[in-house]
């Protein structure tokens, strides 16, 4: 409105007109900028809300994942146990070892396996303990007898207790002992020598296991320890930790 009035003196003062145009330009820019800003502010408001919702969703997902992890860690215990039983991983006894199989099993005559025997004693044990045969050839499904001998060369009675080991480890699950001399205290009087038999068999399913296809030699190793009077040792089935600490 004032512009035409302002324009007239521009004819007379060019400097004033320049300043004027500058002012007008600035005003125009300013008003444009203000409009833009107002539009922008309106957008920012909704965008903020959007971000807010997005943040909440992400937070909810993260929280759910965290709770899921905690739940999974609780569920893993029985699941792992089931998995171990199914696959036999980690050395757990494969379900299905049946003592009644001895009556009905038939020997697999094609598969000849060599069983080698090893005898060890603990450092402080003074018995002379050795196998009476270095090796024996058996077939799966046939019961076999083997002998160890132990002699007490000292002048006082010594009580020993033994444990065994089977190498290769995977074959250990097929190596079944019907009767032996392990895990029970055996007392030898001074200068006494006894025969210790081991009556065992290899499960016929050994022949069907693909992992055992290359296994031709199984080593049975017995180790004798001295048992202290009054010390109670439990069978490995009940408390395997005591046996493990003994053998390690």
């Amino acid at each position: 409105m004032l512009l035409p009035l302002l324009m007239r003196p521009s004819l007379g003062c060019p400097q004033a007109s320049v300043v004027l145009t500058c002012c007008v330009r600035t005003l125009r820019h300013y008003s444009q900028a203000k409009c833009f800003l107002r539009r922008r502010q309106r957008n920012t408001g909704s965008q903020e809300e959007e971000w807010h919702t997005k943040n909440r969703t992400v937070l909810a997902y993260i929280a759910a994942a965290g709770v899921g992890m905690i739940g999974l860690s609780y569920a893993a215990v029985p699941l792992y146990r089931l998995y171990c039983q199914a696959t036999g991983l980690g050395g757990t006894a494969v379900a299905g070892h049946d003592a009644g199989v001895v009556e009905t099993m038939t020997p697999v005559k094609e598969r000849l396996i060599k069983i080698t025997f090893n005898a060890d004693i603990h450092a402080s044990m003074q018995w002379n303990f050795r196998p009476q045969q270095t090796e024996i050839f058996v077939v799966p499904g046939e019961t076999a007898l083997a002998f160890y001998t132990a002699k007490n060369p000292t002048d006082k009675p010594i009580i020993g207790i033994s444990t065994y080991n089977v190498v290769p480890f995977e074959a250990g699950q097929y190596f079944n002992k019907i009767q032996c001399f392990c895990f029970e205290e055996q007392r030898l009087n001074p200068h006494e020598e006894v025969d210790m038999p081991v009556f065992f068999y290899i499960d016929p399913e050994f022949d069907e296991d693909p992992r055992m296809a290359r296994v031709d030699t199984i080593t049975l190793s017995y180790t004798f320890f001295e048992a202290k009077e009054g010390q109670k040792l439990s069978l490995p089935g009940y408390n395997p930790i005591s046996i493990r600490s003994m053998t390690v």
Partner: protein, 95 residues
């Protein structure tokens, strides 16, 4: 020996024997049968299948002298020896 702290490597777990432990033969009552069995093994290059009769005799000696719980032989895996003992004894006595 066999630590069980590894997940993937197989470890060995000793199992108790099915019928328990043999009582010790302090008086050497079955030593003779054991000697016969060991001689049979040495003669047959340690082949267990050829010395089944001797191992059966040893276990029967143990059962007779209260060194082993009495069990029917087929439960100990000697089913084939029970079915035809006369022919088996003939085969053994021939050579």
């Amino acid at each position: 020996m066999s630590t069980s702290m590894n997940f993937s490597t197989k470890s060995f777990r000793p199992r108790p024997p099915d019928k328990g432990a043999f009582p010790l033969d302090h008086l050497g009552e079955c030593k003779a049968f054991k000697e016969v069995f060991m001689k049979c093994l040495r003669d047959n290059s340690f082949d267990n299948s050829k010395c089944r009769l001797q191992s059966k005799d040893y276990l029967e000696c143990r059962m007779d002298h209260q060194l082993m719980a009495r069990e029917p032989l087929d439960k100990l895996g000697f089913k084939e020896l029970m079915d035809r003992p006369p022919s088996q004894a003939e085969k053994e006595s021939k050579p």
